[in-house]
């Protein structure tokens, strides 16, 4: 494109009659400016395209684990509320049926998480969620869950921030405890009265805690559309990743860079081989 523009300019000069030379110089200038603009515009558009380009955050397995867990959890909250809150119990009734739904949803709750372990990507995320880096410690210490703080600090947050990591670990442990105490509550002959009362005590209080943590989880999701899109479709914009999970975005970019270097190395090696054959 730039060469064609120069050619055009050159032709105009070659054709240059005295009367038209000044005008042709103007044309040349205008063309040059237009060219520069076009290049700049294209440059901006390119980097914008890069940043709007999508990167994969969650594989299908991870999204289904989340979806099934969320569905079971909501079922448990609704049925649990009907079982526990007198006003709802009286209005809805059907206690044995509701209890049965609650029971099987509860026993089902750890299953999607366990099934997820068959997926490599899921296992990789489990490992990421379990480990806290220096960044995570700073994130917690400086209260970076407030978005203005996060932007100020611009920490190289990984694929998950410390809050997400703690949420995942807490819910994982809580689900196990709820399943255990729920089982003790369901079978009256399993343990003595004192332990049964204890199990009920833990089940009630932990349900309350889970509720609060879940409200926080949903609150953060409601305030971050890209995060929701990521969990729904599996893909997020690079721009969002660079903003919210800078470390992760850099990691992906480095991986892509590695691949490019590898490809270049392979190409070079190939070329040398071809060259050798010619000699």
């Amino acid at each position: 494109m730039s060469r064609r523009a120069e050619d055009g300019g050159g032709r105009a000069q070659d054709d240059g009659a005295a009367a038209s030379s000044a005008r042709s110089r103007d044309v040349q200038t205008v063309q040059a400016v237009q060219l520069q603009d076009a290049q700049e515009t294209r440059g901006v558009r390119d980097s914008k395209a890069v940043r709007d380009s999508r990167i994969e955050r969650f594989t299908r397995a991870e999204r289904y684990v989340h979806r099934v867990t969320a569905t079971l959890m909501l079922t448990l909250i609704v049925t649990g509320a009907v079982l526990y809150l007198p006003s709802l119990s009286v209005r809805i009734g059907h206690r044995p049926t509701i209890a049965l739904i609650h029971l099987y949803s509860g026993w089902g709750l750890p299953i999607p998480m366990a099934a997820g372990l068959f997926s490599r990507a899921y296992r990789a995320d489990v490992r990421r969620l379990g480990r806290h880096s220096e960044t995570d410690r700073t994130w917690l210490k400086k209260r970076a869950w407030r978005s203005e703080r996060a932007h100020e600090l611009a920490l190289p947050v990984g694929k998950f921030n410390a809050g997400q990591k703690l949420n995942a670990a807490f819910q994982c442990g809580a689900i196990l405890v709820m399943a255990g105490t729920g089982t003790l509550m369901w079978f009256p002959h399993l343990v003595g009265v004192s332990m049964r009362t204890g199990a009920t005590f833990v089940h009630d209080w932990l349900a309350l805690a889970i509720g609060f943590v879940l409200i926080g989880h949903i609150w953060f999701a409601v305030n971050d559309r890209q995060a929701r899109v990521g969990m729904r479709t599996g893909w997020v914009t690079r721009r969002w990743a660079e903003q919210e999970h800078r470390g992760w975005a850099a990691e992906l970019a480095a991986d892509a860079g590695d691949e490019a270097v590898d490809r270049a190395a392979r190409d070079e090696a190939g070329a040398r081989e071809v060259g050798g054959a010619v000699h």
Binding site: S89, V90, R127, K165, L176, M195, T197, T200, V202, G247
Partner: protein, 260 residues
């Protein structure tokens, strides 16, 4: 655990979802402290502690709640409160004017009582705990009504009779007692509880209060007492609860203090 983690790491590397080739240490997110595992174990550990020691904490908190002038503790799951168990979807409310309680079956004089009729019979007042088989217990509940054994005497139980079958007007809930159990002076056909008429949610206008037994025996929305020749297990007994439901001596709950 460590092996599993390593496997996850290497497999994740293999499919390119993480892990930079060869260079493990430059991945802080993968190599940080295992806080997640500690949180999971911590929650499970606290949960176990709670199961073992929760009963004592519960008693303590219930004590605090009883002396709480702010009422804030009402918002907390402290137990020692009524939980309303309804086995059908919505129970029709009984009109106190048309409500009738029948005593039928193997009796010489079948009876049909209005609320006024019941109020005209000798009344008994009891203050007893209400103990649910699922663990919650409401202390010192005032109950009033007619002794079951008095009603049976009025109807004249025949010699072939062995047991009672109670029917609820919710259409589903039934209960049973042997005739011997029914002779216990703490078995009440209750028309009042908590210093007022038995409310609909508590099983009003008339419910059974089987004081020495777990709550499920105290059938709600009572409409009929059938005198029968054998024990027919009630609604909850079909779900595995004991037919002879003495508090502290059934349902594997030997630690419950008897309620009467």
């Amino acid at each position: 655990m460590v092996e599993a983690d390593d496997a996850a790491l290497s497999s994740a590397k293999a499919d390119g979802t993480g892990g930079r080739r060869g260079g493990v240490p430059d991945r802080p997110e993968w190599e940080g402290r295992p806080v997640g595992r500690r949180v999971v174990f911590g929650v499970v550990g606290l949960g176990t502690l709670g199961v073992v020691g929760g009963a004592a904490v519960q008693r303590f908190l219930a004590g605090v709640a009883q002396h709480d002038p702010t009422g804030l503790t009402n918002l907390l799951p402290l137990g020692d409160e009524w939980r309303f168990y309804t086995v059908t979807g919505g129970v029709p409310k009984a009109d106190p004017n048309t409500y009738r309680l029948s005593v039928t079956g193997l009796v010489d004089r079948p009876q049909r009582y209005s609320l006024a009729d019941l109020a005209g019979l000798p009344q008994t007042d009891l203050v007893r705990d209400f103990q649910c088989v699922t663990g919650w217990r409401v202390p010192k509940v005032p109950w009033s009504g007619v002794r079951l054994r008095d009603m049976l005497a009025l109807a004249g139980v025949q010699s072939s009779a062995k047991a009672l079958r109670f029917v609820s007007f919710d259409g589903t809930y039934t209960e049973s007692l042997t005739l011997d159990q029914a002779q216990n002076p703490d078995m009440l056909v209750a028309t009042r509880m908590l210093n007022g008429p038995v409310t609909h949610d508590h099983g009003g206008p008339v419910r059974l209060y089987a004081a020495p037994m777990y709550g499920y025996k105290s059938i709600k929305w009572l409409s009929e007492i059938q005198v029968v020749d054998r024990v027919q297990p009630g609604y909850w007994e079909n779900f595995g609860y004991d037919v002879d439901a003495w508090v502290g001596k059934s349902n594997g709950r030997s630690g419950d203090v008897p309620t009467s």
